[in-house]
Symmetry: C2
DNA sequence: GTCCTTCACTGACGCGCGCAAGCAAGCCGC
DNA sequence: GCGGCTTGCTTGCGCGCGTCAGTGAAGGAC
């Protein structure tokens, strides 16, 4: 709620420095192929500094035909902490390349993604899962040049190693029958598959039966029922979809008089802040979101500049076991 | 990584509909004071639909001198879950008014806020705490028209009721000496003051001594030391800055052989997902971030349109006690 | 003296849009 | 028949910027 307060334009700088706008533009973007004597260059830079000139991104985008805005489509409404952190890491990584991130909640009642893409003038669009072909086309018509993830080979199943790491850890501890705790909230359904798949693979590799899955809500009763199920199936180790679910399993075990980890071992994913201070401290798999976000940012920048994509990191990079007392 | 794929402009629609660009603009923005026969109107709308025309936000912003972008300055790097949720709620609430939110991590190594404001062409800038006067001026020069929060009366201490609610609950349970658990991570320091202040006020009102503060890190040892401090001071009830800290206090109490809530009562803030499944289930204060974000969005929209600000909600609205077994 | 090249710039266009002003046609009152 | 009013448009400007084509002056080659 303040006055418009006329902003300084490159014309102001040009006038003050006694040159034309074009020269100012060349200097400030230090465009190659232009011969500008050091004296002029310094003078322009000095004036720009003094007038606090900042190029108007909107106008620049219009002229250049491309903006510095990346649109992130976030699946549902209330999100887990790790996704939020991914968002922030991505924003930070993009910011280092002069790109701004705008997040769009893809709820049913909200505006469709291509609409938003057009109105903010985004040149790149990202999401957690690949977009349907029709959406991709609509986005392109809306001005998006880079759309990720596509179904590129290195992007297919980034979460699979997480499940493998969980299962391998339990198996190495001698557990022969594993359980898998699925989260109750529907917003996770898109992500559960991969992690569970990783656990199944490890079981198969070790010649063990497939994990016994159970849905665990965030209340003690729900968790206790799941524990009953696992006890009946002689499960001794449980991989949980995430740490919240794991903590619920901990509560369920306690409700049934089981001690962790001797009667039942539990391992989570995420290493949430409370993981070290629950009872017993939770063994978990930490996922290096920083690295994932960074890589995503690199891919976007590469796509925008037309440079080749950076090499893919090894599959399990950034996935780390944090051993505590629950296993 | 796809082709530019020329976008449809309003000129395309105009040509196809056999009218001028201005007419298209008038119809699509259904501008009052223009008399356009229903036939023409329908024809233009139909063509726009058919060509999948979406106005180019960048150009619109340039022409109108104002963008539909709101910039949110987020304090430090890794953020608590509740702040992330606020961000998302705000984005959703703004999206309903056709505004897009871009978040900027105000880290030291990042670009300064006014820079970002200019490059994304934001018309409104928000943050969690009021901006220093100098920053406000720089933002205005960068094109920001609305800057919140200012030190408006209704925005000053939104978190104070949270502390009051915590303390009042413990006092009503008969506790006469309270402790306050401060988080160890420096990123919270800007926010601890208000909540602690609320607790202090309630203590003063009830004629009790000021709360005994202790810093509690997210590890059992740190929490145990704090518990020792409180035990020595005959504290029987602890208000924690947030749920994570509260869970740590729970661990500290257990480490010292105290039972919760009989020996030591604990109350948190946020109602994080694991709150119902820790031992014992955590009593906490839930903060209606949805309402806060909504109100913030309303204030921004009001500021942008020049309409009067909506009435302030009552101070404690949206703050709710969730009673479980830890008190 | 003429021609060519390099240097150091400048003029002007266009990106897609909102909006002020203008303008032809039709109609009305007198 | 004429001035004035409404209706239904159109023409044209400008937002701030990137960028291309051009241009005058200086310097060198012959």
């Amino acid at each position: 709620m303040t006055r418009p307060a006329k902003r300084t334009t490159s014309a102001d700088v040009a006038r003050e420095a006694g040159v034309s706008r074009a020269t100012v533009s060349y200097v400030l973007n230090n465009r190659p192929g232009q011969s500008i004597p050091e004296a002029t260059r310094r003078r322009i830079l000095e004036v720009a500094e003094r007038l606090e000139y900042r190029p108007h991104g909107t106008a620049r985008s219009l002229a250049a035909g491309r903006s510095d805005i990346v649109l992130l489509s976030v699946p549902d409404l209330p999100i887990g902490a790790s996704i939020s952190r991914f968002t922030e890491e991505l924003a930070a990584a993009l910011a280092e390349n002069g790109l701004a991130l705008v997040t769009h909640l893809a709820s049913a009642r909200g505006r469709p993604l291509p609409d938003v893409c057009a109105t903010v003038g985004a040149t790149a669009v990202t999401g957690f899962t690949p977009f349907p072909a029709e959406t991709v086309r609509a986005l392109q018509r809306a001005g998006a040049e880079v759309i990720l993830p596509l179904t590129a080979p290195d992007e297919t199943e980034p979460m699979l190693p997480v499940g493998r790491l969980q299962a391998d850890h339990l198996i190495s501890r001698g557990h022969r029958r594993l359980g898998y705790a699925l989260p109750a909230h529907p917003r996770f359904t898109a992500m559960t598959g991969e992690r569970l798949h990783g656990v199944e693979r490890s079981c198969a590799t070790a010649g063990l039966p497939a994990p016994v899955t159970a849905t665990v809500g965030l209340d003690p009763e729900s968790a206790a029922s799941a524990v009953d199920l696992w006890t009946a199936a002689q499960v001794t180790g449980v991989c949980a979809f995430n740490d919240e679910t794991a903590v619920a399993v901990l509560a369920g075990a306690r409700a049934r008089g089981l001690t962790v980890p001797t009667d039942l071992a539990v391992i989570g994913v995420d290493d949430i802040p409370v993981a070290p201070v629950v009872t017993p401290p939770l063994t978990t798999v930490r996922f290096d979101l920083h690295a994932v976000a960074r890589r995503r940012a690199e891919l976007i920048v590469a796509g925008l500049t037309g440079s080749p994509a950076p090499p893919a990191p090894t599959a399990a990079a950034g996935t780390e076991l944090v051993t505590r007392s629950s296993t």
